[in-house]
Amino acid sequence: MRKPIVFTSEHEMPPMAVSLADMGHNRTGGWRYLRPIYSEKLAPCKSACPVGNDIPRILSLVSEGHYEDAWRLFRETSPLPGVCGRVCYHPCESFCNRKNFDEALSIASIERFVADACFGLEDRISERPRRSEKIAIVGSGPAGLTCAYFLAKDGYAVTVFEAASQPGGMLRLGIPSYRLPREVLDREIELIARWGVEFRTNIRVGQEIDIEKLWEQHDAVFIATGAHRGRALNIPGEEFALQGLEFLKAVNLSPNPSPTRRGEGSQGVRLGKKVLVIGGGNTAMDCARTALRLGAQPIVVYRRTREEMPAITEEIEEAEHEGVQFEFLAAPVAIHKLNDKLEVQCIRMKLGEPDKSGRRRPVPIPGSDFILRADSVLKAVGEEPDLSFISESLETSEGIVMDRSHELLERAGVFIGGDAQTGPSTVAQAMRSGKETAQAIMRFLRGERTPKPKKLEEALRVNFAYFAHMPRVPTPQLPVSERIANFAETKRALSPEQARAEATRCFSCGVCNNCDNCWVFCPDVAITRMNGTYEVNYDFCKGCGVCVEECPRSVISLVEEEL
């Protein structure tokens, strides 16, 4: 009954006061001045992820044991989950809402678990339009690989040119195998190739092939050559020091790096026992930990203190843990060669005023020179892109601009991204750049305009009342005694039980997971449970806001009612 009952005479009335109908005629929705609406929000982890992995949904699938579905969801946004689960510095975890409750989710270790658990699986190669346009990608690092994957998935013919003998760029040349086992990298590159991407190795642009020729032969070109040129120390005797990155490349490309008595091995690098690594970044950490594994005793020489080191804290901790020595507040001023040994003349530093980067500037202390003796010196004071293969004419006449917006580049059909554009950054940032470039290339080829970026509201409000404290599952580690004599992976995978337990810790911020709270707590019975969703009956909802307040994960918003 939806109409008020009107008695027109006494005879129509019941003999006693008894109800004849429910209150359905009374549309209490008219009381409302605030309206609850279901609107899923962006989880802060997903927002922080450079490639936009749908972390809450992936974790929900893992918590239910649906590892394959989780893996396929990863692959919708990223072609490299096995790589990222190991080497990404997981900005997602820094923004995890759970860190304000107990500890952030261990998202990276779950990503790795999913990739490992699904190692043998393949993408379902979908029917897709074969497009006639050809695209050349120069460089097969994380930016190039990601760009190739998304273009190929959309039906474009993609050729990737790589200067080294195998594809992977910095993932293969720069990252040691104890952090990223080669079979993981090989497998994920193989899966990209399955989409029809052609890899042409041992071709260095500027030598074997000309960039302008590439441009003539293709409809679009993506320059993703990375940042491989090591910076110089600019001190006398510099020629006695080896570029850290070159050392890493030699070791990483050798089929079987192994410790030798005096560091003379298959990797063709003569290191000796005592190795000085100059610098405090991630390359320096990789150099020191690699040298350690080749039987050397590395000492990292850094001109500031541990706090100012640009390397990721986790890498510093691992290096310390494995026994790498540090000489802080010291800078080399000259390298001398005496017989077979090197003498590195250093000066002691102290910290002065903060510089542009906000870190305190190192200031030399006059007369504090001292000598560090070594068998070899590796310099790892930063890398920069080498874009000498871009000719002046191309640069000026067609307007190659090192600009994040892609706007001017799109007109030319030549795109640049990854470390080649930004200087050294992270794997995930390079992947973001590759993905964005793939989208920019598609728009360029179809003559579409760059859409205005839509910023979704982030789910920052969590109702902690609905969660119990649960400690973060620690990532299992190989004991130091078992790692320093070889290149075995130092981090171990979570067990399925650990992965599921960790995934259940996810708050699922901004994503409804059918907890029923809105339905349970509605005093007006104005919320209906549908198949996996909920619906507000606005005829009766009084707009009290209880559902909004009690939603544990800010899926419901309260908006002002329009009059």
Binding site: G24, H25, T28, C522, P523, A526, F540, E550, L558
Partner: protein, 296 residues
Amino acid sequence: MRNFTLPSEELMGSGHLGCQGCGGALAMRYALKAAGENTIVVIPACCWTIIAGPFPYSSLKVPVLHTAFETAAVAAAGVRAALDIQGNTETTVLAWAGDGGTFDIGLQALSGAAERNENIIYICYDNEAYMNTGIQRSGATPYLAWTTTTPEKTPKTEPKKDIMAIMVAHRIPYAATATIAYPDDFIRKVQKAKSIYGTKFLHVLAPCPPGWKAPSELAITLSRLAVQTRVFPLYEVEDGERYILNRPKEETALPVSEYLKLQGRFSHLTEQEIQEIQKIIDTRWQRLLRLVSESS
């Protein structure tokens, strides 16, 4: 990933006249989910006289007997007797009264019914004042709270009546506290009451956003905070003897200020007064723990 296991049956309909965020309405929704379709509800003068809807309507899908202010327990006992004479022992008779009709006006009828161990469930949904007549103080209004008859300059100086102690002293088979932020606990207690013969009494804290001068969206939060600050502990008493605490006692309590600060009816309190209230709560909590440990 459901947080609760509520029965899906709805015996309360939309369109009722409860205010936004009404704790009493939600309490009825849960109670009927637990009591089931075969229930007769007896309602004396209280908010629910209005909430259910005027003649010839009712927002409840079970029979309701509206009765006079002081008569909830005895009218329910009468309905029970009538059913028994018909040989109907299946139907549940649920007296549903506010704090005014329980703590004050209906106390003698309730005491009489309890003394005779009438086979009824009596639920007092306590919103801590005579709310639908305009927020006048009742025997359930907390110490130092504002109401329209205890204005800020002269707030209520008497403590809240301990209705649970009164009912437990009748040695009825079952008495329990419950509140809307803990629906599973609430429903379990109503179902337990249903399975026991005799007088069963539930004291339900039902936040009233307008009367407590709090935003309506905080109705559940306030109910939860009442438990977490130990203003309103959840417990059961069987046969007037066995005390069962429903929240772990080792759990650390939140300070009472967390609960008070969200409600305008306490906004006039000084820091010293809040400390005084905290002391009363601590003492009462210790007493409850003692009763629990003595009876186990």
